[in-house]
């Protein structure tokens, strides 16, 4: 590794202004300074002094915050990419399907290259005697406690306080479907109006897993199917289109 040069922070912010653009693997990103004052997110890596793109997508960055904010003193660069295959990341909420029981753990498919483990004790109020009531094929909403490229991912259904905090076995109907991962990021982004717009007219429950799986439940089968369709379709829509589509959907459901 060559020694990385220390760079003048002013220089950095001056360089990191260009707008988002589409990049492909192997592209150099000259505006990223050859120093450690930036954080390289997914889709970027350093080779010598240069930052190189590794995944195709839209290059984005969060500029260096003003010096008053001491908490995040680094600019962040990353590539927004489209993928279907999930790679586990620590702390993310996912929706998994139980494959089997193995000893005191469940083997759970979360779409990664190997199944995750979920201990019987990782449920709210679980004890040695009081085991969670779940069968193979059941769906769980859980959080990744361990996610590393060299280890089996591990899930928990409790938060740091031992409370379920919305996690656990998803029961009582509803439907699970799969979308590409960027649709999930879009749904959860603060700018996206989809869930809010739909929620204004159709009451529903939803659990969104970062692994591309979404669970929804409405009052009726018909509404659930429509909602699932609306979410899948919204992939290529902007907020105005989403609003128009929602209105149409609500009308159709009302029987017009």
């Amino acid at each position: 590794m060559p020694a990385e040069m220390e760079l003048d922070p002013d220089n950095v912010s001056a360089k990191s202004s260009p707008s988002a653009r589409v990049v492909i693997p192997g592209d150099p990103v000259p505006e990223i300074p050859p120093s450690d004052v930036v954080i390289l997110g997914p889709g970027l890596r350093r080779e010598g002094p240069h930052a190189i793109v590794t995944r195709p997508g839209v290059l984005r960055h969060k500029p260096l915050p003003s010096s008053a904010e001491k908490l995040a003193p680094k600019a962040i660069y990353w590539v927004d990419t489209h993928a279907k295959r999930y790679v586990a990341a620590r702390g993310e909420h996912v929706i998994g399907v139980i494959l089997a029981k193995a000893g005191d753990t469940f083997r759970v498919d979360i779409g990664t290259s190997e199944p995750a483990s979920l201990s019987f004790m990782a449920f709210e109020g679980a004890t040695k005697k009081n085991r969670p009531n779940a069968l193979p094929g059941d769906v769980v909403y859980a959080k990744l406690l361990v996610a590393s490229r060299d280890m089996e991912p591990e899930l928990v259904c409790v938060d740091a306080y031992g409370k379920k905090a919305g996690m656990g076995v998803l029961s009582g109907g509803g439907f699970v479907f799969t979308t590409p991962l960027h649709v999930i990021r879009k749904l959860l982004s603060p700018d996206c109006v989809l869930l809010k717009t739909l929620g204004d007219s159709i009451p529903f429950e939803i659990a969104v897993g970062m692994n591309g799986r979404i669970w929804v439940r409405c009052k009726s089968v018909k509404e659930t199917i429509s909602l699932a369709n609306a979410i899948s379709v919204a992939e290529y829509m902007n907020n105005d289109e989403i609003k128009a589509m929602s209105a149409k959907l609500v009308n159709a459901l009302a029987g017009f």
Binding site: V97, I98, A100, L135, P136
Partner: protein, 257 residues
């Protein structure tokens, strides 16, 4: 068709049977000591041995494997049925190159599995496996049917709970007249062949197969005759089972009622 007059003017077939007459069926339960259940069945010149092992724990490398992708819940809720169909190399006119593993044998194994998965009360044996092996010793048409009938007997001999007897029978169409239980000559020279496996008492169809072509309008009468054949086979099998059980029972010292 093809030079032969399959149905004579007196409505008799080449082997002297009437159109709705089955071939002679002879069967015997419990022919092997090694297997948990076994049976031997002759249907005309078609001769089959069937053996059943199980229920036992699941072996991962069964002959066959699940026909559909293994569903997450299945093996935990019900028994896995493993079937293997094999026809001895000397069973037919030309020597077969290999007894099993060719496409027709694989298909036959698959159909047998599907049939018995429906008939056996698989939910009673979760996480278990039941093996059904059938060996055709001599083939003269209606192989699938003979296998199903023999396997039903073997399963009964093994004491495995079933919803009903499964009986199978073939039927064909000659000069626009339906004929039942066709033999090898009739099936190779004649027209279509319809195979039906039914639950004997409820009359519901478990498997229906047809090859060669005929018009939809004829389907009903051919199917009717095949199902009637199944009923007749059922009576023959049932008689043999009752005789077998009472014989065994009397040996154990209880009186057959």
């Amino acid at each position: 068709m093809a030079g032969y007059e399959l149905l004579s003017e007196q409505n008799l077939r080449l082997d002297g049977r009437k159109a709705d007459e089955l071939r002679r069926i002879q069967c015997k339960l419990g022919v092997f000591g090694q297997a948990d259940g076994s049976a031997y069945l002759e249907q005309g010149n078609t001769k089959v041995l069937a053996a059943v092992y199980g229920p036992h724990e699941i072996y991962r490398h069964g002959a066959g494997g699940a026909s559909r992708p293994t569903l997450t819940a299945t093996s935990n809720e019900q028994a896995v049925i493993n079937c293997q169909y094999s026809a001895a190399v000397f069973s037919s006119g030309e020597r077969k190159r290999r007894p099993r593993g060719d496409r027709k044998s694989q298909e036959m194994s698959m159909h047998l599995r599907q049939t018995f998965q429906a008939a056996i009360k698989t939910e009673l044996y979760p996480r278990s496996q039941i093996d059904i092996y059938v060996e055709i010793l001599q083939a003269d048409g209606g192989n699938y049917c003979a296998c199903v009938n023999a396997a039903t007997l073997a399963l009964i001999d093994a004491g495995i709970p079933m919803k009903d007897y499964v009986c199978a029978c073939t039927a064909s169409l000659m000069n626009d007249r339906p004929v039942v239980d066709i033999n090898n000559l009739e099936s190779t020279t004649g027209g279509p062949e319809l195979t039906v496996a039914v639950m004997a008492k409820s009359g519901e169809i478990v498997l229906l197969e047809m090859s060669q072509r005929f018009h939809v309008d004829h389907l009903e009468k051919v199917m009717d005759l095949a199902m009637e054949g199944c009923q007749n086979i059922y009576h023959i099998l049932d008689k043999e089972v009752r005789a077998h059980v009472s014989k065994r029972g009397s040996l154990l010292g209880w009186e057959a009622t």
